[in-house]
């Protein structure tokens, strides 16, 4: 029995690097030391604008993470956590301004308590726990075929000023985005699932492209502890680009850098 499986050493080193860099930047944040300045993700600015517009129009904000949008097991978990962070931020801001937020729940039954909890937390953070209404969480069962008409009906009945559609979204959500457009809403959305990105490119006013959604959730929280993580992520990306360039040069000289990466 080897302590570390032989073909997983590089992978393990990556993990060690990732943990230590995040830890390093968290310590910096705790000590209040300066962190690298991050560019603003354009779609985040549009959220506040959209909430303001909803207030002026007297219409609610609708939030959906997609009909299958809350996987908890597997790597989809991170996206769920990110979109819940965004949801909490949206609920906090709408609650402060007195705008109603309607949440269209994802199909995964086991994730409902988590979503409900995030909404409650949002109201608590805004100092208005009494404004929370369970009736504003709409559930449509298991099918997108039921989800899309349900959301559509909600747009017709309640009106819609801003529609945020972000999470582990699959492409079947396209009709929902079209419906938001028909009802005159500003729509903002995005997903790290690359296959579904095109629906947002075609149908949204503002979009998070790929990883932007995950980063946005940390950035808007305003929590230095969370944004510090993005700084460490930049290191990983520069390292990746560096490894790619070094690797291709070494490979040109006959050294199998690509094989070493899989050791």
């Amino acid at each position: 029995m080897g302590l570390i499986q032989p073909d997983r050493v590089v992978e393990f080193l990556w993990l060690v690097l990732m943990f230590s860099s995040v830890y390093y930047y968290i310590q910096k944040a705790i000590k209040d030391e300066p962190l690298p300045k991050l560019r603003t993700i354009p779609a985040t600015l549009a959220i506040e604008e959209g909430i303001g517009r909803s207030l002026e129009m007297g219409k609610p904000v609708h939030y959906s993470m997609g009909s299958d949008g809350a996987p908890l097991t597997g790597s989809g978990m991170s996206t769920t956590i990110a979109t819940l962070g965004l949801l909490r931020y949206v609920v906090r801001n709408t609650a402060q301004l007195g705008v109603r937020t309607i949440v269209h729940l994802p199909s995964q039954g086991y994730a409902i308590p988590l979503v409900e909890g995030a909404v409650r937390e949002g109201y608590l953070e805004a100092g208005k726990p009494e404004a929370y209404r369970k009736g504003d969480l709409h559930y449509y069962g298991w099918l997108t075929a039921a989800f899309a008409p349900g959301v559509y009906e909600s747009f017709v009945r309640e009106g819609v000023g801003l529609f945020i559609h972000a999470g582990s979204v699959i492409t079947y959500s396209f009709p929902v985005l079209e419906a938001a457009k028909i009802h005159g809403a500003i729509s903002i959305g995005g997903t790290p699932r690359w296959t579904a990105t095109y629906i947002f490119a075609i149908a949204c006013d503002h979009l998070f492209i790929g990883e932007e959604l995950l980063a946005a959730s940390a950035q808007i929280s305003g929590n230095k502890m969370l944004t510090s993580g993005l700084a460490s992520e930049e290191i990983w990306k520069f390292l990746t680009i560096g490894l790619l360039i070094i690797g291709v040069v070494l490979k040109a000289f006959g050294l199998p850098f690509d094989v070493w990466m899989m050791k």
Binding site: T73, G74, W142, A145, T171, T195
Partner: protein, 279 residues
Amino acid sequence: MGEQRSIWYKLGNIDYRIIYLLVALMTAWPLWSPVGTPMTVGENVKQYAEHIRDMEPGTVVLCGFSGYMTMLPDIEPIYLATWKMLFEKDVKIMVRVTDVDGPVVIRQEFEKIKPEENFGKVYGVDYMIFPYVLMPTATEIAFTDNIRTVYPVDYYGTPLDDLPIMEGIESMHDVDWYFTSGADWGNQRYTIPYGVKLLCWGTGTGLLPFVPPFYDPVSGPCYGYVGGASQGGELELESGFFGAGVKYNDCKNLAILGLFAFVLLGNVSYFGEKYLGGS
């Protein structure tokens, strides 16, 4: 000038319902009266069929069957043609249902194929079906390591040890080929430690953008792939088991002509308004 602009504008703002109606009619017409648009079989489909034809007697095949009812029109031609090709050969077929609709759909699929009548196969001896189990990553890993910890019984509630086909099949070490919907990490876990070869089948949208990077007909991990009803039709043509895939070909071709016509119209309107219509 103003009148010209309004023409460009009108061209670019046709009522959606007219688009829907025209495209719908173009899609439906060939079903009513087949046009017979030509078909060619792609290289990847030929390879996929070739691997099935080359399977030795006694080969153990595991089929990951999503059976998502909604997606059936896009994928059913592939399932049916593949299974018919497999049943023609003397291979052991195990089917794993991976979606909650699967338990219902799988029975309908096998009723269409009729393995007993058409191919002389016997359930439990030549093929078997696992029941549906919700499988997070960790459970799937447990399954690859020891099939019986996750599935003590088959689809009909029979203990696995009572099925002759399961004799000597304990883990993925005993499986030769895995038909699956992708070749990403989740599926490569079958290949790397267990040496199972992957053949990919799936819907066009779920499979085609992702599988080609992993496709190599000689060294894998994905040895062949077929995705979507169009390629399903090609597989039917290649295998000689004709079905819905070939029939859909006409409709798909005509509908695409409709789509292209509208995209062209949109662009004519855009450039007309920009360069000829004034501001």
